[in-house]
Amino acid sequence: METFVQQILNGLVLGSMYALVALGYTMVYGVLNLINFAHGDVLMIGAMVGLSILHALESHFPGLPGYLQLAIAILGAIPVAMLVNMLIERIAYRRLRNAPRLAPLITAIGVSILLQTFVMAMPFWGRNPLPFPQVLPSEPIMIGGAMISQTQVLLLALAASAMFALVLLVERTKMGRAMRAVAENPRVAGLMGVDSNRVIVATFAIGAALAAVAGVMWGANYATISFTMGVLPGLKAFCAAVLGGIGNIYGAMIGGLLLGIIEALGAGYIGDATGGLLGSHYQDIFAFVVLILVLTVRPSGIMGERVADRA
């Protein structure tokens, strides 16, 4: 039972990071029908910038409280990630907006490689895994026999509030309405006076902000980051977005959390379930199995409706 509670907690932590990244995928897919392959690397950029900010704070303002340091790191990482993602949109995707879908997909892969190369080439980041400073107190909080660290609690709170803010933005503001309109039908939205370019740029920016939060918290939670760290979370978050129903922001949240829990429970019980044949290091397989299952059984995902030509 304790394992169960612990794995559910781990799953929620992991899942809330997936959800934050999945939102970026799903929103871009909603307005452009495009998989922004480089989104996982935006998360990585966020984590790298966060790391550099933490290092700078440590050398210039030692003794700041941990929560404040982390808050500054996140607030600093967000605009950089936003800028990077907006640049990606401008350079790699905008010219290909009316091109057949294979073309932007291939540029997206190229951009992803270029971002990784950029980080690898920077002398202060480089190609080796970097330790991420642990600024929050390390004593864990016990819940029903299960442990959760303060970083993880903060992560859950941040993810919840970011998602809440996003829902407010999409449902209550003029920009949100414009986004929904473009997602529904870009051409008609244009006729109604929506500047679709602005909406698309805003979508990329919002997605990047969420990814930056996830990136810094990923570093804080796992204590090491590297230039390839974005690939797997990016892929899995995409799986989560598909699981929830791509294009649907509530779907991305549910899909992210669900995938996190599936992974955590899977990792916790796969050893017993297969009689020791497979161990917890097969954790990474679940996301892809889920993806293939969802795409074959219910391509619209949990929340999605319109699929006719999607899958």
Binding site: L96, P100, A103, P104, T107, I109, T117, R127, I292, L295
Partner: protein
């Protein structure tokens, strides 16, 4: 009409002369290059393997228009198969099997004889290579089956996930039964032995291969083998392209629904694309394993899949000479950069500012982005308009003009 043409349909005479000239150049190459050191020939050996891979991927991406981002998995399957059946690794597998499942293990021992307990299995290249092609083709179909209904971007993600899954298995299939030896990989893979001649050279010959009294460095021997395989691959894929099957692939690429309406069995034809593409990857993998002498999961990362894709995209999706050009450029350039840029930096600035590995990756990334933005049909697109992937890549000219 371009000066260099390999277009047998429109300019057969010119194309044949060009091919003959190129062949002579290719055969002469190692004799010149090995004077500047075997490492140059070795680079080209690996480049030839990459060209084989790119040609195999071109079947899937170029002909059938299915974006496969996990292609390196088939390369891995071929390499690991060689590792398992042509090295002492099988002895380790058997040991773990006897320990965990004594009945099955003992049965295998009684089947193959006591000898494999010590030495493992050492199958001949004539068995391993067809086996690698078959098993890779099977994996290709395995990947194809659940993805048949998917198009474009979803397919890309699923294939990418497939590549990752294979890599996870390579890393972890060490316990309880030791198939892959985990992250350390499999060592001491047998070199290729053709008609009794080992291409790594006999023991004590300082890796010189003697064929009928004539000796040459081992890398040159491998060069000729890989060259022959590349030519065979080019021949097979170009015959495939103009076959009934090849035309069915192109039809699916351009418009799947219309292809179906014309009576093409899209399911079987797509599965064939996956498995035929995969079998070339498997053969290349088997060669790679034997050439290197070891296989480890590192060689089969996502970056390698993307590198092969970049070769296909750079040269010209669907155009075989273009794909070969892309393969040559992207496989050889980074190595040349490694040999030129790093010493140049040290000479100029006294230290290494940019590593060659960084340049290599940057090259792949730039190739993908710039080609798609500037010249989506590739550096050397097919002269025949109907061979270029229109629906998949380039905008319709009328649409662009409007």
């Amino acid at each position: 009409m371009s000066l260099i043409t390999f277009d047998l349909q429109h300019q057969p005479a010119k194309a044949r002369i060009n091919m003959a000239l190129l062949l002579v150049l290719m055969i002469a190459f190692p004799f010149f290059a090995s004077q500047y050191g075997n490492s140059w020939v070795r680079i080209i050996d690996l480049a030839l393997l990459y060209i084989m891979l790119a040609l195999g991927l071109n079947i899937v991406v170029g002909f059938a228009g299915l974006l496969d981002l996990g292609y390196i998995a088939f390369f891995a399957v071929g390499a690991y198969l060689t590792g398992l059946f042509a090295s002492p690794q099988f002895a380790a597998l058997l040991e773990s099997l006897v320990y965990n499942y004594p009945a099955l293990g003992e049965w295998l021992v009684s089947l193959f004889g006591e000898d494999i307990r010590q030495n493992g299995i050492h199958l001949s290249v004539w068995v391993v290579v067809p086996l690698a092609a078959l098993v890779a083709a099977f994996f290709g179909a395995l990947l194809g089956a659940p993805t048949l209904k998917l198009r474009g971007d979803y397919l890309a993600i699923v294939t990418l996930g497939f590549g990752e899954i294979i890599r996870i298995f390579m890393n972890n299939l060490i316990e309880p039964i030791n198939f892959t030896n985990g992250p350390q990989g499999i060592n001491m893979v047998d070199p290729i032995r053709i008609f009794g001649v080992s291409l790594a050279g006999e023991a004590g010959s300082q890796s010189t291969v003697y064929i009928g009294g004539y000796g040459m460095p081992s890398v040159n021997a491998y060069y000729f083998l890989f060259l022959a395989l590349c030519i065979a691959t080019i021949f097979i894929t170009s015959r495939l392209q103009h076959s009934r099957l090849g035309r069915a692939w192109v039809a699916i690429r351009e418009d799947e629904i219309a292809a179906k309406a014309m009576g093409i069995n899209t399911r079987n034809v797509k599965l064939l694309a996956f498995s035929m593409g995969a079998s070339f990857g498997g053969v290349a993998g088997a060669m790679f394993g034997a050439f290197q002498g070891f296989v480890s999961p590192e060689s089969f990362s996502l970056t390698e899949s993307i590198a092969v894709l970049a070769m296909v995209v750079l040269g010209g999706i669907g155009h075989i000479p273009g794909v070969v050009l892309g393969g040559v450029l992207l496989a050889a350039l980074p190595e040349i950069l490694r040999h030129v840029v790093e010493p140049a930096q040290i000479a100029l600035f006294g230290e290494k500012l940019v590593e060659a590995e960084v340049l290599r990756q940057a090259l792949y990334g730039l190739a993908l982005v710039l080609i798609m933005l500037v010249r989506p049909a590739g550096l050397w697109p097919s002269p025949n308009k109907e061979d270029r992937p229109n629906a998949a890549l380039a905008r319709d000219e009328e649409e662009a003009a409007a």
